[in-house]
Symmetry: C2
Subunit: 406 residues, 2 copies
């Protein structure tokens, strides 16, 4: 079967102006790749009918499948329906069943339906409607010769819901898949990882090797559109040469790994955090079902709360300061005791933008207290601005916990 190529077009001037981050492109790219579609282009297009029509036609030259997101709302700057109709000279038909559905949705909430909403019942002739159970704008699937144009609503949860049936249909069309395996590493830089991996593996024909670094994690990626079993020995070689720095594979996340290790041991974790201000707790509560292993966090932003809420002894705070290895250790122990968990994880430090108690921005102390021994402490000097320091601290704390658990 020939390659099936795909393009993603995210619609909205707000994407060009940078008012919104284009997270839909990532979701759509991942779904297309998994369905065996080679994603060759991803672009954002403004709310301009002519540019939309041009972009749609232009991308259909190379791509067999074009997926649009956004521009299906009820306001005057929502132009995707019109653009699809114009690009292929189709009339827009008002579909009575969709109109009835819109009226019913508003009635169910006891709300008055603005008349403008009814444009969402307009469909380019010949397009199939993709049901949107969580919003008012349905998606569209339009066959154009042997090619396909798919239009999906822009709000991410609506896009996911309305596209559920799309991915199995595309997989059936491509009949093949691109396989990617990833080795997930922390504690080593990208260059060091690359030197180790390239000395250890010999790439067979048809396998690509790439690296992806960000947020204190390096991902080693092997990709092939040939036999997927080519990849397993490469992953094993990378695992061997990278050793304990490997924390997972493929689409695992550090919080997945931590929760699974805790669940396997029948144990729980709690947090006491300062500079991360709740982000570590948010990471540990991200996963559905995390309440089985995550108990909670004392977000002790104010110094006195480190004592009153998280149980850091006053003499530790007075003697070493809030930003210290000793306070991190006491916070980890306090988290275990005050929040009643097997493991306690603590983060304290300076996120910036200015230094604190004489410690420069990026100074971070992490600690993990467990059931069997004294707390393990790790002191770091992290690069970047406030957001970056906070994000890296969460990853480093999860990784320190992971190293104690596994």
């Amino acid at each position: 079967m020939p390659d099936v190529k795909g393009a993603v077009l995210a619609v909205g001037s707000e994407l060009l102006l940078g008012d919104v981050i284009n997270s839909n492109a990532a979701y759509l790219g991942h779904q297309l790749a998994a369905a065996g579609v080679e994603v060759v282009a991803s672009a954002a297009v403004g709310d301009d009918l002519e540019r939309l029509v041009t972009a749609l036609r232009h991308h259909l030259v190379e791509a067999d499948v074009v997926v649009l997101s956004g521009g299906l709302g009820p306001t005057v700057d929502d132009l995707t329906r019109n653009a699809v109709a114009h690009a292929f000279d189709l009339p827009l038909d008002r579909v009575p069943a969709l109109e009835d559905g819109l009226r019913a949705k508003f009635a169910a909430y006891g709300a008055t339906m603005p008349e403008a909403i009814l444009v969402q019942a307009d469909v380019p002739r010949g397009a199939e409607v993709l049901d949107n159970p969580v919003g008012t704008a349905p998606g569209l699937w339009l066959a154009v010769g042997d090619r396909v144009v798919i239009a999906l609503p822009g709000p991410p949860h609506e896009l996911r819901a309305a596209s559920e049936t799309v991915w199995p249909r595309l997989s059936a069309r491509t009949g093949r898949a691109v396989t990617t395996r990833q080795v997930l590493v922390s504690g080593l830089g990208e260059s060091a990882v690359a030197e180790l991996v390239e000395a250890a593996v010999a790439l067979p024909d048809g396998v690509a090797l790439s690296y992806l670094a960000g947020g204190a994690v390096v991902r080693v990626r092997f990709t092939t559109s040939r036999d997927p079993s080519l990849l397993e020995p490469l992953v094993q070689s990378a695992d061997r040469v990278l050793g304990k720095h490997v924390w997972g594979h493929d689409r695992q996340t550090l919080d997945d790994i931590v929760h699974e290790a805790l669940a396997a041991a029948g144990q729980t974790v709690a947090v006491a955090e300062s500079l991360t201000g709740g982000l570590l707790a948010a990471a540990l509560s991200r996963r559905p079902g995390s309440s089985a292993t995550f108990r909670g966090s004392a977000v002790v932003y104010a110094t006195d709360l480190k004592r009153t809420l998280a149980g850091v002894p006053a003499q530790v705070l007075a003697g070493h300061g809030a930003v210290s290895a000793q306070t991190a250790a006491a916070l980890a122990t306090g988290a275990r005791e005050r929040l009643g968990s097997d493991w306690g994880v603590a983060v304290t430090g300076v996120a910036g933008p200015t230094e604190q108690e004489g410690h420069p921005v990026g100074t971070v102390h992490l600690a993990v207290a467990g059931p069997d021994s004294a707390p393990v402490v790790r002191s770091l000097r992290l690069p970047g601005d406030r957001d970056h320091v906070r994000t890296l601290s969460v990853t480093a704390a999860l990784d320190l916990l992971r190293r104690q658990l596994t």
Copy 2:
């Protein structure tokens, strides 16, 4: 002066495959627009030399300024330097000063420099180097006739640091600015906002009106490249017709508004949160200097912690359950008392994916307790999946606090 048009090209197959969300495009789009550059295109390009060269040449047809992000690292899939050189037939020169700088950066950390790093000292002939104080890959500024190609490193904090000098230079070239004013609204849907605004304002020629809805916030946007003073009366009309649902303007965030109101009153806030699992605390600690008004949070994910850490009376939990208006009120009061703040904000509910205590996913109870009266409670049924419910809950909680403070 004629219009200056711009394009953003984000480099990396990981963007096409959806392994990374393209946040750089938003940053670059915003910076270009503010510098008076009309952003006409934004695309992601894979790690493929031919496609990169083609995309670069293609976008330079319409755009006067093309900004590339990413692909400046030291590994084999980092092709931006080569693509810029190929596209304009320039040799790559190894620059001794950059080489010395790279060696010095590694020496300062006491680390061994992998030889591969030295490709980051290669510069297409004629390009200016943009200093990157927080990483090893410098940026590039290349004049191509009367057009400009700018290449920036991909890690967001490096991109920001290396592009600091770029924006004032571009502003000087354009000599004009596009002005956007935004009215920020919560508590009303996009269609309802649009109906109210369009009945109340008459748009002058040369002013565009658009709406942007997401995360429980609707942004009403007025944009012009003519006289910026055209916009102020439109903003005032929108403010009047939308009334108390308007919480801010332009690039303000809800946490900004809340911190400013607290600071003006000399007051502080603390949180007790369950389904948001630390996200509300993270939002309240995002802003630099937030420690002046934000004290901390009791993230009471486990039900017993609602009693032991946040002081919810056992009879409230037993009588009404963890997911109830009564528990939310007691959590807000408990946050004030246990964390020693003037205001307490609480969130409890069901994030999903499954119902809890018989309450469906999306059931959320918010409460705000203040110094002067009984807690205010708001009970909601939010749409979407786990992530979406958690995110909307944070916005709704900040908005409820804002309505009590202002």
